[in-house]
């Protein structure tokens, strides 16, 4: 990252703190820090930013709570039975948990069919299980309940098979031999695969959100300074590169802090869900995600600042930021859609690698050396964008009137 210690390109000497002028003046050495602090203060006290952060946290926490509630919830069904059906009702009650762990069946003894019908109608029973000729019927008030139906059907079916097998001189077990299908995984398990998919989506989406949200804010604050000419006052006082560095740094600090908060809440929440056993195994990739996020964000942030400086009024931003909006969307779709060979390639191509490599790490497809290589490429790209961005920013920032094209900004005489 950029803690600029270099000379101002205007051909001046940097004012070291030692050559402080009288009157308690200090050098420009720490000017970027002042800018960083202002960026953070302004944003951190901005109501819409705070509300956005709290809402996102609430959504993350809400998803976790929903997981816990859904996982822990069992449905209890009261099933009315006449004395003739008591046996099957007891078998359903005993077999329910094995078939669907979320379903509990309580038989409700009623004297006759009329009483059973009445119980279903007045809601004291959820269903009525009774014999009709050579089949069983589950009567409910209106539409059948799928979970209850599945449980009852399974029990009724196996009891009937058992009876028929016995009558044929064999056993249920003998009949079913060789007819079961199990599932197995060579790597991980079904639960982990589900979690990996969810996290990959979350990573990609969080990166997209942060890159877009902070990017637009950054571009806006640059054009605000340019439009109001505050930048001219600042440019007399400090080198423009300090201004850029401070703005990028301030927004990066906030973005990473916000992201870390989201991820931490997400991981803590995860510990309360069924996925708790997997928290440690995904924590490593999550840390990688934050590191890649940092590098990816810095390079994009510089470009957003350039997009801001190319505009001369807020109204121009729409057009100067369009290429970046597309780039960020490319990262979003890359993270969501890339698979196989394309995913491997994408995991090394900046800025796509900022999300694709952490996803591969999460999926267990990529090794540490690969991650380090991708990170090195991403950092090199970030350094290059910082340099190019600084030049464009410096040159276009002080051009008055109308929007500036990248080509003009690159070529213009300073």
């Amino acid at each position: 990252m950029t803690a600029p210690t270099n000379l101002d390109r205007r051909g001046s000497t940097p004012a070291a703190p030692s050559d402080a002028a009288p009157g308690g003046r200090t050098g420009t050495g720490s000017a970027w820090l002042l800018v960083t602090r202002r960026e953070i203060m302004v944003k951190a006290t901005d109501r819409s930013f705070l509300i956005g952060t709290v809402v996102t946290l609430a959504i993350i926490a809400g998803i976790m709570v929903l997981q816990v509630v859904l996982a822990g919830r069992t449905s209890t069904y009261d099933v009315a039975v006449t004395p003739s059906a008591t046996t099957i009702a007891q078998q359903v009650r005993a077999g329910a948990a094995a078939i669907d762990e979320d379903v509990v069946v309580d038989p409700l003894a009623v004297p006759d069919d009329a009483a059973a019908r009445a119980a279903v109608l007045d809601g004291s029973a959820d269903a009525w299980l009774h014999r009709d000729g050579d089949r069983w019927v589950l009567t409910t008030k209106d539409g059948p309940n799928d979970s209850l139906k599945a449980v009852v059907q399974e029990v009724v079916r196996s009891e009937a098979l058992r009876a028929n097998a016995s009558a044929a001189g064999t056993t249920l077990e003998a009949l079913e031999r060789g007819a079961t299908l199990g599932t197995a995984f060579l790597e991980g398990d079904a639960q982990r695969a589900e979690l990996v998919d969810a996290l990959a989506f979350a990573f990609t989406f969080l990166f997209y959100m942060a890159a877009l949200m902070f990017g637009v804010t950054l571009a806006n604050s640059v054009v605000e300074e340019k439009q109001s000419r505050v930048v001219e006052i600042i440019a007399t006082a400090i080198p423009v590169r300090h201004l850029l560095a401070g703005k990028v740094l301030g927004n990066t600090v906030l973005a990473v802090a916000q992201m870390t908060l989201f991820v931490a809440v997400g991981l803590v929440g995860l510990a309360f869900t069924d996925y708790s056993s997997l928290v440690t195994s995904v924590s490593g990739p999550v840390v990688w995600f934050v590191v890649f996020f940092l590098a990816g964000f810095v390079s994009l942030a510089c470009l957003w600042a350039v997009a801001g400086s190319l505009a001369s009024r807020t109204e121009d931003l729409q057009s100067t930021t369009t290429p970046l909006t597309f780039l960020v969307m490319a990262v979003l779709f890359g993270g969501l859609l890339l698979e196989g060979q394309w995913q491997v390639i994408g995991s090394f191509v900046p800025p796509l690698s900022a999300v694709v490599m952490p996803i591969r790490l999460l999926q267990g497809d990529a090794s540490w050396p690969e991650a380090l290589l991708a990170l090195a490429i991403l950092l090199a790209a970030a350094a290059a964008t910082v340099r190019v961005g600084e030049r464009l920013y410096r040159r276009s920032l002080l051009q008055g009137g109308g929007r500036v094209t990248v080509r003009q900004a690159w070529r213009v005489e300073e």
């Binding site: 000497t13 002028a21 439009q227 109001s228 001219e232 006052i233 007399t236």
Partner: protein, 293 residues
Amino acid sequence: MLETIDLTRRFGDVTAVDAVSITVPDGLLTGFVGGNGAGKTTTMRMITGVLGIHAGRVLWQGRDITAADRRRFGYMPEERGLYPKQPVLDQLVYLARLAGMDGRAARASALELLERFGLADRAKDRVEKLSLGNQQRVQVTAALMTSPVALVLDEPFSGLDPAAVESMADLLRERARGGVPVLFSSHQLDLVDRLCDRLVIMARGRVVAQGTADDLRGGSPQRFRLVLDGDAGWVRGVGGLHVVDVDGTSALLEVLDPDVVQPLLREALSRGGIREFAAVVPALSELYREVAA
């Protein structure tokens, strides 16, 4: 002393500022006048280092200016600009700290100036809540609060009410008396005439005149108005004079030879009496029209 030597800036094919050499001496108010597009703002932006210089030099105390020198300048850009959503005092302290001032001193200095402009009670308001005139006072405060060694102010008086113009004028005179060179641009020629020790007039990217107001007037012959009791037509016959205009008893004269004045007055007395004989000082606006034409 602040000087520019052959300062030049092009925008594409247009040379906005063409070999401009001006002098802004210590302790004097130098007024910078010229029509729209004359190149005043571009020149000021090059002096403050906000815009690159294509040719020529800016000198501070006789040597090439550095960024460290410029940091100690007070600069007020043309369009009023501050962060609209940031409170006045916070913003002033931030800008002063960027210019190298320490936080506490910046606060004290900002409050003192805001007090002077009658804005002390608005220190915590956001800038956007202030009227345009008050925003401008805040902007001036930003330029003055760091005790700058030179002041470069682009249109500091535009948009101010008469009372504010006076307090601003006092402030600038005060800074100039402290030995600071002050360069400010303005469209209000009467104000510049009243306020300035020196003038620089620009037109179409070039300096067309500069010096004290008297210097500039010195270029044209001294004019007098003579009002007589009788008809003034006879002055046309007097040598050593250029008669600009005669209207009944009144004549406007340019004296080419100072020795003719006493004989002229004796003649006038003998012809019946003099009601008025006064030097006519051309207004700055007239001078401006002449040089900028």
